[in-house]
């Protein structure tokens, strides 16, 4: 059905609004009150929950509800990510707003019996507070300090149904821009909001739109950067999987504002589910006349095309990305000219990140002042972080700028796994740095993170504990940049290799104090003489770990030990006098280097030991130590 006017859109919204009215209302009704009312079960269909069988849960639910004669009344839908990935698969029942965690397909019959037939929540699948052991059905502490703007619709609506998006004010911002605003006034609102690029650079979005708009040309382009190269980050993927229309709507708004009639989404080929949802969204938007010619009978025409990445991290950099869309090797080029001056096929081009775009429709509807009222002086609004690593609640969190790392890791993230001690948080991926304990209370925004030697990056936040070796972590990131350097600049190509070699030497116990100076000097040279952000930021993981964890480097270099017990060459296994001579270790040693007679203390031949740790795992008498 093609929507011909703004009124058509409003009518459609009015028709479908009732569907959405009772989802997550501030005063949810009880499970027993909801009995007999139309209900919806929203099952998480993000990549994480998908991998732990959420599609089977959907099937099982549909079959069981059918069997119980409830299929008419209770609708089962797939949503995007709830954010609480640690406890997936997750499902939520509306209008009683009950959240079930770690559901498996075999829980379904009991769930249907208890919740939908007996009318009481199934306690054992509710969230349990780790301190009070109380079961909580809705409004979990995980969400308390969060504020969802970019993620507003993720897990609330079905991403595969445009009507659900329309019911939650979808495409209203586009209508407002088309019929009640000029491009100049849109630019003013975005500037006023203080929105800055969420792809890492933090460039003011309104200014970027204005620059692209002001460049004389007969054609312009808008590109959505969905390359999400930071390994361990999944914000953009989750937005595309959970709310693809919000990105399409924002691209339409950007296109109208800068004067583009064609947009591209450049997405990683590793994200098949996000691609699938985007394809559906584009198809539906075309069917409803929200993409294509004369949108809502205005004179605005706009089309969107998906372009696939092919596994090159550097293609996230905007000039490289543009070359990749043009079908060539994705190597960065010198700026200026900036894409806003000369981008895709030489035309002014605006490149924006997925999360940046997801913020646009609410800003248009609620105003620049509203957005500018959230956050810190220079960083407005919220930021989505992919919280991962050694933290209890791995997941996707959105918090106002200025929230501290402590709030994110301990209040929302539930602290460190297995009661270990926090050591560092890594932000900014391979371009960022490791932040030590002393900065846990720093309010985070673009400027403060740079001041402490890291950067916002796209929002990856990896938590590390006492058992992570910081030298080894730095080496891990360098391995990444060595792999991903496009090779154009010598400093980046050769320099990162050299840095990696030195780090390898240190982790093998062959490092010298001179190597430490070398790392710092070479790091600075690479930063100064690389063409693009990849090379310019590649030494950051090393420089920040040397600054905050110098002791650990010194332990490797001077004492030849790895305090975290990670670097193999520096470990030593010994059998203590607790040994009972059970021979189990000797039988399991792949090197055959443990000797001793039964019932006599055993001994390890250090020369031949592979440091594999098999003996330590096998010994039942705690007789083997690693040091």
């Amino acid at each position: 059905m093609k929507l011909k006017t703004r009124d058509d859109l409003n009518n459609l919204k009015a028709q479908h609004q009732v569907l959405l009215q009772n989802r997550r209302s501030a005063q949810p009704i009880s499970v027993s009150e909801a009995q007999g009312k139309p209900r919806q079960v929203m099952v998480c269909g993000g990549t994480g929950c998908h991998a732990s069988n959420s599609p089977q849960i959907v099937e099982a639910l549909k079959a069981e509800l059918q069997r119980r004669g409830l299929a008419e009344q209770i609708n089962v839908l797939q949503t995007g990510c709830f954010g609480f990935c640690e406890k997936g698969p997750i499902l939520e029942v509306h209008p009683d707003n009950v959240l079930y965690l770690e559901v498996s397909p075999k829980d379904v019959p009991e769930l249907v019996e208890e919740h939908f037939i007996q009318g009481k929540p199934l306690e054992r699948l509710l969230y349990q507070d780790p301190n009070t052991e109380e079961r909580i059905a809705s409004d979990l502490p995980f969400y308390h300090s969060q504020m969802r703007i970019a993620l507003r619709n993720c897990s609330l609506i079905s991403p595969e149904d445009i009507l659900e998006y329309i019911a939650v004010d979808g495409y209203q911002a586009l209508a407002k821009v088309l019929f009640a605003m000029t491009p100049e006034s849109v630019i003013d609102v975005i500037k006023q909001s203080g929105l800055r690029g969420r792809g890492g650079g933090g460039f003011p979005t309104g200014v970027k739109w204005e620059l692209t708009h002001n460049n004389e040309a007969n054609n312009r382009y808008i590109i959505c950067n969905a390359d999400e190269g930071d390994p361990g980050a999944f914000m953009d993927r989750s937005i595309l999987e959970g709310d693809p229309h919000s990105v399409l709507e924002a691209m339409l708004i950007a296109g109208h504002t800068i004067g583009a009639s064609h947009g591209f989404i450049y997405i990683r080929a590793e994200y098949p589910l996000a691609i699938h949802r985007l394809e559906i969204a584009i198809k539906q938007a075309k069917q409803y006349g929200l993409l294509g010619k004369n949108i809502l009978s205005s004179d605005f025409c706009f089309d969107i095309e998906i372009k696939y990445g092919a596994g090159a991290f550097v293609c996230g950099e905007e000039t490289a990305l543009i070359h990749s869309i043009e079908g060539t090797r994705g190597e960065p080029s010198v700026k200026p000219p900036f894409p806003a001056q000369q981008g895709l096929w030489g035309k002014p081009t605006c490149v924006n990140n997925v999360e940046t775009l997801a913020n646009i429709p609410p800003i248009i509807l609620k105003g620049g002042d509203w957005f500018a009222g959230i956050g810190t002086e220079k960083s407005k609004g919220t930021k989505v972080f992919a919280l991962a690593g050694k933290v209890n609640n791995v997941g996707l969190v959105e918090v106002p700028m200025g929230t501290t790392l402590r709030q994110i890791i301990f209040d929302i993230g539930g602290g460190i796994k297995h009661h270990k001690t926090f050591k560092a948080a890594q932000t900014g991926g391979p371009s960022g740095g490791c932040i030590p304990t002393k900065f846990l209370d720093t309010p985070i925004d673009y400027e403060s993170l740079i001041a402490i030697g890291s950067m916002m990056g796209s929002g990856g936040l990896i938590v590390m504990d006492e058992s992570d070796c910081m030298v080894n972590i730095a080496k891990f990131y360098l391995e990444f940049t060595v792999d991903e350097s496009c090779g154009r600049c010598t400093a980046c190509r050769v320099g990162t290799k050299r840095l990696h070699e030195i780090l390898t030497k240190i982790t093998e116990g062959k490092g010298t104090l001179d190597d430490l100076d070398q790392l710092e000097k070479l790091g600075k040279t690479i930063k100064d003489s690389s063409l693009c952000g990849l090379g310019q930021s590649a030494p950051n993981p090393i420089l920040s770990t040397i600054e905050y964890f110098r002791d650990e480097y010194l332990a490797h270099i001077v004492d030849k030990t790895c305090p975290a017990g990670v670097c193999k060459s520096l470990l030593r296994y010994d059998i203590t006098d607790k040994c009972k001579g059970c021979t189990l270790c000797a039988k399991n040693c792949p090197a055959g280097c443990i000797t001793g007679s039964p019932k006599e203390p055993h001994i390890i031949d250090q020369e031949r030991c592979l440091k594999c740790g098999a003996c330590l795992e096998k010994c039942r008498f705690d007789a083997i130590i690693r040091h």
């Binding site: 991998a51 732990s52 999944f234 092919a310 991290f313 869309i325 991962a388 690593g389």
Partner: protein, 169 residues
């Protein structure tokens, strides 16, 4: 396998795909994705075919294929096992997982088993970091892979039923 003139001839399928595109040279990367799906990998011959079809130098096609790590010029196994080496997986034991799979398959990362059944590779973040450490077999994601027995069970699912029973096909 490639010169079979059946209706499923992959060269003809590739040509049909290319003919259907609104513009060609600019879509080189999409064409290569499609070709890799059809052939499993991108040998010289396929690259030259694409170059001729698009009327561009084959050096250009080669330049693009070699730039992007997603494209491979070596034939791959029937099933491709990819271990995630993203940061979230790395700090939750991805190296151990990789070593365990290398042990179980008897090959190193980047190699293919002699019978051509499995290839082992690594990639960086599939976005299921909550389940770290993670691997992907032919596009299906498996998470929380800590125990060698769990890994063995998953890999067994991809072995030929005939092979498991001891007969050959």
């Amino acid at each position: 396998m490639c010169d079979n003139p059946s209706p499923y001839n992959p060269y003809q399928q590739l040509d049909r795909y290319i003919d259907g595109l609104p513009y060609k040279k600019e879509n080189l990367i999409a064409i290569l994705h499609h070709a890799q799906q059809l052939f499993g990998y991108l040998p010289d011959k396929v690259q030259r075919h694409i170059a001729a079809k698009l009327d561009i130098p084959s050096a250009k096609v080669y330049g693009v294929v070699s730039f992007y790590s997603f494209f491979t010029m070596k034939p791959r196994g029937k099933h491709v096992v990819n271990v995630c080496m993203g940061t979230a997986c790395f700090v939750r034991g991805a190296e151990k997982l990789q070593q365990e799979i290398e042990k179980q398959l008897g090959i190193k990362t980047g190699q293919t088993t002699e019978d051509g059944h499995f290839s082992l590779d690594s990639l960086r973040c599939i976005g299921a970091c909550g389940l770290a450490p993670v691997m992907m077999v032919d596009g299906k994601v498996y998470g929380r892979l800590i125990h060698p027995e769990d890994i063995k069970q998953i890999l067994d699912e991809y072995r030929e039923p005939a092979l498991k029973e001891g007969t050959s096909t």
